[in-house]
């Protein structure tokens, strides 16, 4: 299995507090990898290091390397903007822009220089189809995106991320703010995304990880306790702490 992302000895500090301690892992290409663990264990932080969104946080210091296709993204030569184009992100709370549906999707392609109306139309349709949203919204593309339901908004955000053609998709608890039906739709969608994208999902929900992820990493107090195939993790955990967590005996 080919590795897309290689993390080596990653340490992250918020001021004096060390949020990530010596993380090392290889994330496979075109697979879904899930990060699980209790609140505050560092899984979201780790996800954000992959497209350097943590640059926005004041007093955030990082050591170690994160390589995508062999290139260290924390190298001073790295173009952060390009990195973020290649590693799309979906956030915990749906955050569509206060614009029309169409403009939301077309935002990414436009800022990356696509101006032709026809090309944009195609991208919008393709992205919405990949996010399984096209049929629901094709008649109201010019309406405000804020009028959609929560689940639709989140799929819109996925479509928006896909529109810039990333090769990695980072999802930070994408279904935690949604109802079960919308959650199911998004999980189905992720199953299809696996073919073209390397997907990394942070989730609170262990069943969700078990349902969709190929590999799963269990985080605790800023460290990776166990990182292995999802089946192995859930059926035959090596570490006692993992077992206690997935069986729900953990505070």
């Amino acid at each position: 299995m080919e590795s897309k992302i290689v993390i080596e000895d990653l340490n992250l500090y918020y001021g004096d507090f060390q949020a990530l301690k010596g993380i090392s892992m290889e994330i496979p290409k075109n697979r879904i990898t899930a990060f699980i663990g209790p609140s505050g264990c560092g899984k979201s932080t780790c996800l954000k290091t992959l497209n350097r969104m943590n640059d926005l946080v004041e007093n955030c210091k990082i050591t170690g390397t994160v390589k995508i296709d062999g290139e260290d993204i924390y190298d001073p030569r790295t173009d952060v903007t390009l990195l973020r184009k290649r590693a799309g992100m979906v956030f915990q709370k749906p955050n569509p822009f206060p614009m029309s549906l169409y403009d939301n999707i077309a935002y990414g392609p436009r800022i990356h220089g696509i101006k032709s109306k026809q090309a944009l139309d195609e991208i919008v349709e393709k992205s919405l189809r990949s996010a399984a949203l096209w049929d629901e919204v094709k008649d109201r593309l010019k309406k405000s995106a804020l009028g959609l339901s929560g689940g639709q908004q989140q799929r819109l955000c996925i479509a928006r991320a896909l529109a810039v053609e990333p090769d990695i998709l980072l999802m930070d608890e994408p279904t935690s703010a949604l109802d079960p039906v919308s959650t199911l739709k998004i999980e189905d969608l992720m199953d299809d995304l696996r073919e073209k994208y390397t997907v990394i999902i942070v989730t609170h929900n262990m069943q969700q990880a078990a349902r969709i992820a190929d590999r799963t990493a269990f985080f605790l107090l800023g460290q990776i306790v166990e990182y292995t195939d999802t089946l192995t993790m859930f059926n035959n955990p090596k570490d006692e702490r993992t077992e206690r967590y997935i069986t729900g005996r953990f505070g």
């Binding site: 290139e71 030569r77 173009d79 390009l82 290649r86």
Partner: protein, 290 residues
Amino acid sequence: MLGNSLYGKRKRPADAALKFLINAAAALTVTVLAGILLYILVNGLPYVSWTFLSTAYSETDESLKGILPMLINTMYIVGITLLISAPIGISTAIYLTQYAKQGRFVKAIRFTTEVLSGIPSILFGLFGYTVFCILFRLQTSILAGCLTMSITVLPTIIRTTEEALLSVPDAYKEGAMALGAGKLRVVMGMVLPCALPGVLTAVILAMGRIVGESAALLFTSGLSYNMPRGFFRQIFASGRTLTLHLYQTAREASSPDAMHIAFATAAVLLILVFLLNRIAELFSRALRKG
């Protein structure tokens, strides 16, 4: 071509240009505004002395070039205006927030005060001149100026006080009501003390506005620079404030000496406004802390 590699920063000329514009605009703003402050202070402060602050003014007598009468007049106007407008404005805000039925009527009043707070002061001056000076026979006098200014600052006081009163959580009120306190006791003993920093901020903002006002006072309080003859008599006499003194000396000054007076007056005004601004800032910070 750099292709798909992450390495090598891409050049984005539009980005750089916009960034430059942002920095240039900020630099321009800061330079202009700091320039004004420095220009006035550097040229004015050397002439501000105790003698300047404590001497009377005369256009003919070279030894009398102080601003004491203007300082006194400014204090009169600030004091009397607040004496009139603060109780009325605060009462209005209390009535609107605590007593009046929250409906279309209160909304209409809010809309009116909001809209009227933008009326230029020259219109207040025009109104005050014909109504207070002529109709009420007050002539150009400090009292006429105060009455005019009271109306000018009322919308500001009402709005700011209202905001402060509305920011007091309803739970406090309900708690006090549940203990059987009368409405007046709740308002006076609970709501008003909680909102006090906000109310004081409103009053200080109004003070700043009065100190800086000139157009509304030009015709109502007049331009006389005589020393006050008596405490109550001065209220009915004409008298110029610091702003009007600056306006008048700047317009008429021909000699460098006269220019110094204008600069020094401007510097005093700036310092006064700065102090009021600081105090208001302190109060609003106290409000935010709760």
